[in-house]
Amino acid sequence: MARFLIKRLLSVSLTLFAVSVVSFLMFFALPKDPVTGMCPKNCNAERLERVRQELGLNDPKVEQYAAYMKGIFVGRDLGSAQGGKCEAPCLGYSYVNSEAVTDTLGRVLPVTLSIVIPAAILWLLLGVGLGMLSALRRGTLVDRLAIGFSLTGASMQLYFVGALLLLIFTYQLKIVPVPHYTSILDNPFDWASGLVLAWIALAFLFSAIYARLARAQMLETLSEDFVRTARAKGLAKRTVYGRHALRAAITPLVTIAGLDVGAALGGTVITETTFGIQGLGRTAVYAVRGGDLPMIMATVLIAAVFVVIANLVVDLLYAAIDPRVRLS
């Protein structure tokens, strides 16, 4: 177990390192020169050059990268135009927003977490529940309804469902407030009511995928020998389905769920745009479009960290759920 963890942690660090290098390189290929946007008021070539110099954009790329990494671990001095001394973990100072990147992240991260985590719980419960129900009641009306619901969801698009939900519940019936973000610590009710439409929309779409997968897996597992054996041994249906079958069926779902949650945390661009909420996803898009290198780096790295952690958790859960898998 310890060896497995060490190995995984090494591989994780390597992944994050590679991600940071690739995003650093990607930035240099961006169409927009970041300096143009932050040129002093009256721009000329000489002034631009001075800004480039101050930002260190003329240094060799390796040095720039090293300076950035140094900032994360020990902090660095960014100069007067960049908010001065920047304590570790320093992710730099936004080229566009007149704000330290860590401040921005501290603000948008809770937003994205508040959207994704409750939505994920909702879609997992709904999806697995529907999938199991339709597998066990295979061929009945319940099966058809559950599958119909999940297929409808899987065939919809988020911006479409979102726009419709908003139009009906917020603008026409006026029973749900306009989507907004309030910290759960300030006002839990306001927090929930401001995000509930986003949760519903996400859950409707994602649960569909889980319901389909859960059903397929469950059916597959039900016809397996060990289930049949268990039934033949005279074990109660409850025990067989609840313990053995569900456990086997859920394994691939865990993979998908982990990846989905990880990816969603990295940015729910479309959700945030549809509901007009400012989270990590939109921040990242603005950063790329504005050529805001420190912000691009930070959002890409954060997204990568989420995905990588989700992967790790999935692997551990895998072992916990399915005894046939050995951690090696």
Partner: protein, 575 residues
């Protein structure tokens, strides 16, 4: 049950919209309105308090909904329209426009007792006297010293954004920040700027600068005590001299401003202090913003959607009887043109042919219809003081491809059109339109956020693209020399995006700029026509029409005659 109600609501919505016949109706906005502007000669005009707004009541929270954050709040860096409309709430400048929202403008003293004294009548020496009783948010008095410090810090190259007129005029060079280094001379003042006493501030220029009173109406002449200067961080928490102070600011999410108790209405000729609070709420896209305000629930009843009514929602807002009295429509000074890169398109006949070929009506339709835009054949918009209408290349509302072909005389010019990736339909429209007149158009998309910066580079690769300009004050001086004086062309950050340089025209600019502002107006119209007739460095397209919707409790908002965006100095919440 809920689902049923929802489904029924959706059904009713779809059916009602699908089964009602769409027809042409409604009235057109009066586009012929021209701004009249004067500089107040009577010092009484500059006295406060501003006349009460009929029906206005005190109290409440006024909300402004906008998709993106305001790019800068630091008065010395403010230059975006949202920023310019918001700044008067917390920043006072030396002069200000009294605006009736219908095109009548009077430039008055704001912090200054008058809109300036032209000491020797040659526009080279200007003097301003600071009013008594003007205070910062901490109650300390505003003197000429803090105003001069505010102007001095606008020389700091770290503080990106913001206009550069005053700095360039004082330093008499575009390289103002090398001529006078702010960071090394914080205790002194830039060349030509002096404060003989606590109540007097004096500008001395090498050349006549007759537009100074106008330029000082921008928030970059706002005061700041040196002790309160937090450098780049002032952008998130400016120090107030106006009727409101910033009490909470979450960049990109929310900006809350509350009453500044130390602001005295008696000193202020243009502002009010009706609502208890102003709140900017950032995030919702234009559709969501308009929908929220239309829904009129809770705090949104006292809100304004700053992004306006998106073209997709125009017919809904127009057709809804409940929204009568909750919309504002007004012509704006924001003029669109098809910029021609004269470095690449050197053949005058091609530029003239483009002017004959253009289908303004088709373009406006794709842009969203006549509710949001109206055609323009001049470089200056009708809202300019002294505007005169003309059409140098008469070709009707939809253009005249035959005439264009005739001017081209058998040539089939190949042009590259650069278009923002958020408005590709406009690109398609231009391509189809111009190819009918014998042009060969290649459309290349540019990321929308980069387009402005990219086209402002002198060596950009495109031949034609869409540009938009709204002047900093409604005078030809803030339009024509800015857009077409070839001596100001630099490597990047050009406003003269046609890269047009003509000695005769440049001389004309100098001649008119040295005239008294009141005599300039009609001269600018003549130069406008001369440029178009003789040089055609652009194709004038249309002016935007402002179309806004607000909640049932929002009052006092009008469209600024200067910038064409909603102004908040009269705003109040109906009780």
């Amino acid at each position: 049950m809920r689902m049923k109600v929802a489904a029924a609501a959706a059904l009713v919505l779809v059916v009602s919209a699908a089964c009602s016949k769409t027809t042409e109706d409604g009235e057109e906005v009066d586009q012929t309105r021209t701004a009249t502007g004067v500089i107040a000669t009577d010092p009484k005009d500059s006295l406060g308090p501003a006349a009460e707004v009929p029906g206005a009541t005190k109290g409440g929270t006024f909300t402004v909904i906008r998709e993106n954050k305001i790019s800068h709040l630091d008065p010395q860096r403010v230059y975006s329209f949202a920023g310019l409309m918001n700044a008067p709430l917390y920043a006072r400048s030396l002069t200000a426009f009294k605006d009736d929202g219908k095109g009548k403008l009077t430039l008055v003293g704001d912090l200054a007792e008058t809109p300036g004294t032209n000491v020797n009548k040659d526009c080279k020496v200007w003097e301003f006297k600071v009013k008594d009783g003007v205070k910062f948010e901490d109650g300390s008095p505003i003197t000429s010293k803090e105003i001069a410090y505010g102007i001095a810090r606008s020389f700091d190259p770290d503080l990106t954004g913001g206009p550069t007129y005053v700095q360039e005029w004082l330093a008499d060079t575009a390289d103002y920040d090398t001529k006078w280094n702010f960071k090394a001379n914080k205790a002194s003042l830039p060349p030509g700027l002096t404060t003989p006493d606590a109540k007097t501030i004096k500008f001395e220029f090498a050349k006549p600068r007759c537009d100074l009173p106008f330029a000082l109406s921008l928030p970059s002449s706002a005061p700041l005590p040196p002790a309160k200067d937090t450098g780049v961080n002032l952008d998130n928490q400016p120090f107030s001299s106006g009727p409101y102070k910033i009490t909470k600011h979450t960049p990109g999410v929310e900006l809350v401003m509350e009453r500044n108790e130390h602001w005295d209405a008696k000193t202020d000729p243009v502002r009010h202090q009706y609502p208890d609070k102003f709140v900017w709420s950032f995030g919702p896209d234009p559709d969501a913003g308009a929908n929220r305000v239309i829904a009129d629930t809770g705090g949104d009843a006292a809100a304004l959607a700053f992004n306006g009514v998106p073209s997709a929602l125009v017919s809904k807002v127009e057709g809804d009887a409940a929204l009568k009295g909750r919309t504002i429509t007004s012509p704006t000074p924001s003029a669109w043109r098809l910029t021609i890169n004269t470095q690449r398109v050197t053949d005058l006949s091609i530029r003239q042919a483009l002017n004959y070929a253009i289908d303004r009506q088709g373009l406006i339709t794709v842009y969203g219809g006549t509710t949001v835009a109206s055609p323009l054949t001049t470089l200056m918009p009708p809202a300019t003081i002294g505007y005169k209408e003309y059409d140098a290349y008469p070709a009707g509302a939809t253009g005249n491809p035959e005439k264009a072909k005739e001017v081209l005389a058998g040539k089939a010019p190949e042009l590259v059109l650069g278009i923002g990736d958020d408005s590709t339909e406009l690109g398609t429209q231009l391509k189809t339109n111009l190819e009918k007149a014998g042009f060969k158009i290649t459309v290349r998309t540019i990321p929308a956020d980069a387009k402005l910066d990219e086209t402002k580079k002198k060596d950009n690769p495109w031949d034609i693209w869409l540009d938009q300009w709204a002047a900093d004050w409604p005078s030809g001086a803030a339009i024509l020399p800015v857009l077409f004086d070839g001596r100001s062309i630099k490597a990047e950050g050009n406003s003269n995006t046609s890269y047009f340089n003509n000695d005769a025209i440049n001389t004309e600019f100098d001649r008119v700029l040295a005239m008294d502002p009141s005599a300039q107006a009609s001269e600018w119209s003549k130069i406008d026509e001369k440029i178009m007739k003789e040089q055609a460095p652009a194709v004038p397209l249309f002016v935007e029409v402002a179309y806004y919707v607000h909640g049932s409790k929002a009052g006092g908002v009008f469209i600024s005659s200067v910038f064409g965006y909603p102004a908040f100095v009269n705003a109040y919440v109906k009780q």
